[in-house]
């Protein structure tokens, strides 16, 4: 990932900064500037997600690209945040067998990857069992 591309998403990756439509009550992550339901009648405001949620579904990655091969086996999950928005993230567990659908999780700050030995280090949100 290019440095500018990662840098632009730091608020979302570090602190789960999304948006909320005050008219219909929907929450969006990643953030939307326009509510797809309310359209021009919607009123979008910023919202920082609390970082707690449950696992909707997940996959155990045993064969990964070079950048993530050190981490295998690891769990990639769709997490439904308490406010309702869903996101894809890694769930950090010692044993993938611990993970189940409906598992409560909370956000933690971890390294997401590095651009080789000399490149930029990307940080962001992963989840652990709550």
């Amino acid at each position: 990932m290019s440095v500018p591309r990662f840098w632009r998403k730091i608020p979302q990756r570090y602190n789960l900064e999304g948006t909320h439509c005050e008219v219909c009550g929907r929450y969006f992550f990643p953030p939307r500037n326009l509510c797809p339901d309310c359209r021009r009648d919607g009123r979008i405001v910023g919202h920082t997600f609390e970082g707690v949620g449950t696992i909707v579904t997940y996959s155990v990655i045993r064969t990964a690209s070079d950048q993530f091969s050190d981490l295998t086996p690891y769990v990639l999950a769709i997490v439904e945040l308490k406010e309702g928005a869903r996101m894809t993230a890694q769930v950090v567990v010692e044993n993938p067998e611990e993970v189940f659908i409906g598992m409560p999780v909370k956000a933690v700050f971890r390294r997401l990857g590095t651009d080789g030995e000399s490149g930029v280090i990307s940080y962001g949100t992963k989840f652990v069992p709550a």
Partner: protein, 351 residues
Amino acid sequence: MVGIITYGTYIPRYRIKLEEIAKVWGDNAADIIGGLGVKEKSLPDMDEDSATIAVEAARNALLRRDIDRNAIGAIYVGSESHPYAVKPTAATVGAAIMATPVMTAADYEFACKAGTAAMQTCMGLVGSGMVKCGVAIGTDVAQGAPGDALEYTAAAGGCAMFIGDDNPIADINHTCSFTTDTPDFWRREGQAYPRHGGRFTGDPGYFKHVQGAARMMLEQMGTAPSDYDYAIFHQPNAKFPQRVAGMLGFTKEQIAPGLVVPRLGNTYSGASMIGLAATLDVAKPGDRIFVTSFGSGAGSDAFDITVTDRILDDAVFSRGAAPSVEELLADPIYVDYARYAKHKGKIMVQK
């Protein structure tokens, strides 16, 4: 008065027992464990480093007390394992706790006492009215070369102390330092692991400086060891802090809550501060705490601290909202040396 307005700690869940390290290098485990007084040490997960530990520690502090992010005017992160040689860990912490951009920030390095030096800086900024709140963090994924004596204790963990004058949970009555140019431990630019002067790190290093700062504090405050309820001394192993406590006249009971090194190892820049956090975890209003850090190279920072009523005031501070040091030490995941080597990046792989 300037003091600690909240604090937080983070310790990774992974541990390796010293027997496992001794087995690899053919050392006598009983001698090593007996000599150091350390049974096991923490290590980071594959995706943890000094920055992620610093962020988790700071966020745990904010769980205990929701500080106005606009009030945070300074963040200093002390470590000897900053992820970057050039790019501040403190800026990453600032973004991760949403304190940027109206703040100053810098990374500190003074071996194991960079975190307490950060506390002193924040005290100065708050005391002078330059900032309302300063964040001082000591964090490390400590480095020890394979087979070196340091490998038995070099651990991972960190602690964040938020310094301010708005209803502190603990007043910092005074701080003083004792510093000399002493090459007892060092790491040259570009080197992966530190080197040290072996036994030279003892008397001319640790004991001279810890005693220098501690005695200076007692003299300047006109106090005796018996005036304090608790004491924390830098803990590179369990022997040094116990010995120096005895030399200064402190009892085993006074240092017991803060002596976490037997189950944690030496978290370098985090070590003294985690000891202080473990003591704050159990302290009552009115308790007086004596702290003396030590950083090779070499220097010590001493602090005289009095716990206030606010530590139990739920309207201001919720001690149970974040994990205590004792809770962070519970439920570890033990690994063998091979897994430890992988987590610490000690296995050479094709790149």
